[in-house]
Amino acid sequence: MAQTTPRVRIQHGTFDVSQEIAELQAGDPRVGAVCTFLGTVRDRNVQGAAHAASVQSLELEHYPGMTEKSIETMIDEAHRRFDIFGARVVHRIGVLAPTEQVVLVAVTSAHRGESFQACEFLMDYLKTQAPFWKKEQTPQGAHWVDARVSDDAALARWGIAARNA
């Protein structure tokens, strides 16, 4: 199915989830399910209880070019694995405050099962394979966020070795 807008966008500004869904659905009457995942900035770091509610802002860096290519590859793989009509990923970069939107994954399909699965697959893939890095600003200073072994395990469920964390 031809999509008139890019499947992958990396941008500083925020996005309107309703508009993203409407563009992805594009009036296609075959679509019976739209599944979305929206990631937002937390104010607490799970890596240390001592730093509870201490994240003042989050800075996101990426590898221009590789980021877009790697996510395009992920969406191609989602189409091979699941009976879906379309998928879209929007990811923000730059400095973000707690509660702000970071990432959107949206998938359309005829029935809910395929889009639920494809949405989770895309997020698991993105967390361990897309070249983004987070730096947290706290009252104690700034530090880079460590990768989590549990994210590698999440991708392994789909039969893919992440080898990231």
Partner: protein
């Protein structure tokens, strides 16, 4: 051969630059990594053996045995943390 090297996140900060072009006799990603560590001669090198560094060759994640080609783009970065 000349290769274009990029650094990201904590590795970029530790290297003190985001990119450089370098003439090297290395033939693989692993040899290039070792050559950079030897060139810079510092105790806390972010690419030293045992430090967590992921490597992309021409914007694809690769292992250290991947072969360099003239003009290729190599990127060193820590484990990714997007999403």
């Amino acid at each position: 051969m000349q290769v274009h090297i990029k650094y990201f996140a904590s590795i970029r900060e530790a290297m003190g630059c985001g990119s450089e072009a370098w003439d090297t006799s290395a033939t693989t990603l692993g040899e290039l990594r070792q050559a950079l560590v030897a060139r810079d001669a510092r105790d806390d090198h972010p690419l030293a053996t045992g430090r967590a560094a992921r490597i992309a060759l021409n914007q694809l994640m690769c292992e250290e045995d991947a072969l360099l080609t003239p003009g290729c783009e190599v990127a060193f970065f820590p484990p990714v943390t997007g999403g």
